[in-house]
C-alpha cells in the first residue's frame, strides 16, 4: 500500500517537473528562433550562455509584480481562472507516453482523456474574460470560445482517424500500431491536427482572441503578475502537449534507431519538431480575420478531416 502511495507521488512530481521545464524550453526556443529569423540575437545576458535563463528571470519578475483585481471584476472567478489552464494541460501531459514504459499515467483511453482535458483550458480563458468586467476581455473571451468550438471538431475528427487506423484508444497502443505508411496515409489528418491545435492554443495566425491591435490582450487584459504568467505558461504547456501528442499519433512516438534505449529521446525530438513548426508559423504569417478564421475551420479543416476519416476507414476495412 505504501509502495503505491510513493509511486503515485513520484509520478505526479515527475509530471509536474516536466510541466515546469518543457514549456520553458519551448519558450526559450521561441525567443531564439524568432530572433534569428528576424535578424536579431534575442536574449543574450541572463544566465551567461546565450541568455538561457531569460524565462527564469521573467518568472521571478512576474512573482514580484503587484496582483491587481479590478473593482468591476467578479473577484473569485477572476482569481481562479488561471488555475484551470495549467491544471488542464498538466492532466493532458500526464497521459502522453514518451516511451512504451515512460509515462505519467497509463490509461486505456489516453487519447480521449487528452482531448477532453485540453478543452477545459479554454473554460479558464472564458472565465477570465467573463469575470474581468472589461469589454476587450469579454469580446476576446467570446472569440476564444467560438474558436474552440470550431477547431475542437477537426481536432477530434483527426484524432478519431488515428484511433481508427490503430484500432486503439490508448496512446501507447496507437504508437505501437504505427508503420511508416502512416506518413502518407495519415498526412491530411496530421495537417488538420497541427492547424487545429495551433488554433486551439490561440497562436498566430489564429490569435484573434488576444489580438493586441483589436482587443489589447483579450481575456487576459486585466491580469497582472503571476496570474498573467500562468496564462502564458498554459499556452506554452499547450504547445508541448499538442506537439508531443502529434508526435505519438503521427510519427510513431518512440519508434527510431536504438529505441530500446533512446525511445523517450525520439518522442521528445519529434515533438520538438512540431513545436518548431508552430513557432515558425508565428514568424511567417499575419493574423486571420475573425470570420476568415471560422471559415478555415468549417470549409477547410472539417471537410478535410472527414475525407481523412473516410480514407482511413476504407483502408482499414480493405486491409483487415
Amino acid at each position: 500500500m505504501s509502495h503505491d502511495v510513493v509511486e503515485v507521488v513520484l509520478r505526479a512530481v515527475c509530471v509536474l517537473a516536466a510541466f515546469l521545464v518543457l514549456p520553458l524550453v519551448v519558450g526559450q526556443t521561441e525567443h531564439k528562433v524568432m530572433a534569428h529569423m528576424q535578424g536579431r540575437l534575442g536574449p543574450m545576458y541572463p544566465g551567461g550562455f546565450h541568455g538561457w535563463a531569460q524565462l527564469v528571470a521573467d518568472g521571478v519578475k512576474f512573482a514580484q509584480k503587484e496582483d491587481i483585481v479590478p473593482i468591476a471584476a467578479d473577484k473569485r472567478v477572476f482569481r481562479l481562472a488561471p488555475a484551470l489552464g495549467i491544471v488542464a494541460y498538466l492532466l493532458a501531459l500526464a497521459v502522453i507516453p514518451l516511451d512504451a514504459h515512460v509515462f505519467g499515467a497509463n490509461v486505456d483511453d489516453g487519447l480521449i482523456w487528452a482531448i477532453a482535458v485540453t478543452g477545459i483550458g479554454t473554460v479558464g480563458t472564458l472565465m477570465a474574460g467573463w469575470s474581468s468586467g472589461n469589454k476587450y476581455a469579454l469580446i476576446g473571451a467570446m472569440r476564444s470560445a467560438a474558436q474552440l468550438l470550431s477547431y475542437e471538431l477537426p481536432l477530434i475528427l483527426s484524432c478519431a482517424s488515428f484511433a481508427i487506423a490503430a484500432g486503439s484508444l490508448s496512446l501507447v497502443g496507437i504508437a505501437h500500431a504505427w508503420t511508416p505508411w502512416w506518413l502518407l496515409w495519415q498526412l491530411p489528418g496530421a495537417i488538420v491536427f497541427l492547424v487545429a491545435a495551433t488554433a486551439e492554443l490561440q497562436r498566430v495566425p489564429f490569435d484573434a482572441p488576444v489580438a493586441d491591435s483589436e482587443v489589447v490582450m483579450g481575456p487576459y487584459t486585466e491580469y497582472t503578475g503571476l496570474r498573467f504568467a500562468f496564462f502564458l505558461l498554459a499556452e506554452y504547456a499547450g504547445i508541448v502537449v499538442m506537439s508531443l501528442l502529434l508526435a505519438v499519433l503521427y510519427l510513431g512516438g518512440w519508434t527510431g534507431p536504438f529505441d530500446g534505449y533512446l525511445g523517450w529521446l525520439w518522442t521528445l525530438l519529434k515533438g520538438f519538431l512540431f513545436a518548431l513548426i508552430i513557432i515558425w508559423m508565428r514568424v511567417s504569417w499575419p493574423r486571420l480575420r475573425e470570420d476568415q478564421l471560422q471559415r478555415v475551420a468549417w470549409l477547410g479543416l472539417v471537410p478535410l478531416a472527414l475525407l481523412q476519416l473516410a480514407i482511413t476507414a476504407v483502408g482499414v476495412v480493405l486491409t483487415a
Binding site: 503505491d4 509511486e7 503515485v8 507521488v9 509520478r11 505526479a12 509530471v15 509536474l16 512573482a63 514580484q64 509584480k65 503587484e66 496582483d67 479590478p70 473593482i71 468591476a72 488555475a83 495549467i86 491544471v87 498538466l90 492532466l91 500526464a94 497521459v95 499515467a105 497509463n106 468586467g133 472589461n134 469589454k135 476587450y136 476581455a137 469579454l138 469580446i139 467570446m142 470560445a145 467560438a146 468550438l149 471538431l153 477530434i156 475528427l157 478519431a160 484511433a163 490503430a166 484500432g167 486503439s168 484508444l169 487584459t221 503571476l226 470570420d291 471559415r295 468549417w298 470549409l299 472539417v302 471537410p303 472527414l306 476519416l309 473516410a310 476507414a313 482499414v316 476495412v317 483487415a320
Partner: protein, 135 residues
C-alpha cells in the same frame, strides 16, 4: 498496483499536484509582491480612457451558428471513437463502414447547406442585411 484503475489514481495525484502548484505559487506571490492599490489602478482598463458604462458590450450573436454546427458534429464525433474499436471485427466491419458513411454524409449535407445559405460568410450576410439598420 495492477488494477485497471492505477492510471486514474495517478491522474488524481497529478490533479492534486496541479492544485498545489497554484496555491503555493499564489502564497509565494503574496509574500514577494508589493500591494499598494489605488483607485486608478483598480479601474477597468479601456486604453487609458475613463471606462464607459459597464463591462457588458452588445455584440451580434454570430457565434451561435457555429455553436449549433458544433453540437451536431460533436454527437457524430462521440460515435466515432467506439466505432474505431469495432471496425476490424469481421462481422461488423463492412456493415458499420456503410452505416457510418450514411451517417456522416447526412451531416455533410447539413454543413454544405449552411455554407450555401451564407451562414459561414460574415461579409455576405452583412451586405444582405445592410438595408436593415446601420450598426
Amino acid at each position: 498496483m495492477g488494477s485497471g484503475l492505477t492510471g486514474y489514481v495517478v491522474l488524481a495525484g497529478v490533479l492534486l499536484a496541479g492544485a498545489l502548484l497554484f496555491v503555493v505559487a499564489m502564497l509565494g506571490r503574496r509574500m514577494l509582491a508589493p500591494r499598494a492599490p489605488t483607485r486608478a489602478k483598480l479601474t477597468t482598463y479601456e486604453s487609458g480612457v475613463d471606462p464607459v458604462t459597464g463591462g457588458w458590450a452588445q455584440t451580434q450573436v454570430r457565434y451561435l451558428a457555429y455553436a449549433f454546427l458544433y453540437v451536431v458534429f460533436a454527437v457524430d464525433a462521440v460515435y466515432l471513437f467506439p466505432w474505431a474499436l469495432v471496425l476490424r471485427d469481421a462481422h461488423l466491419g463492412v456493415a458499420s463502414l456503410v452505416e457510418m458513411g450514411i451517417f456522416v454524409a447526412a451531416l455533410v449535407v447539413g454543413l454544405a447547406h449552411a455554407a450555401r445559405r451564407g451562414l459561414l460568410t460574415w461579409v455576405g450576410t452583412a451586405s444582405a442585411s445592410r438595408s436593415e439598420s446601420p450598426r
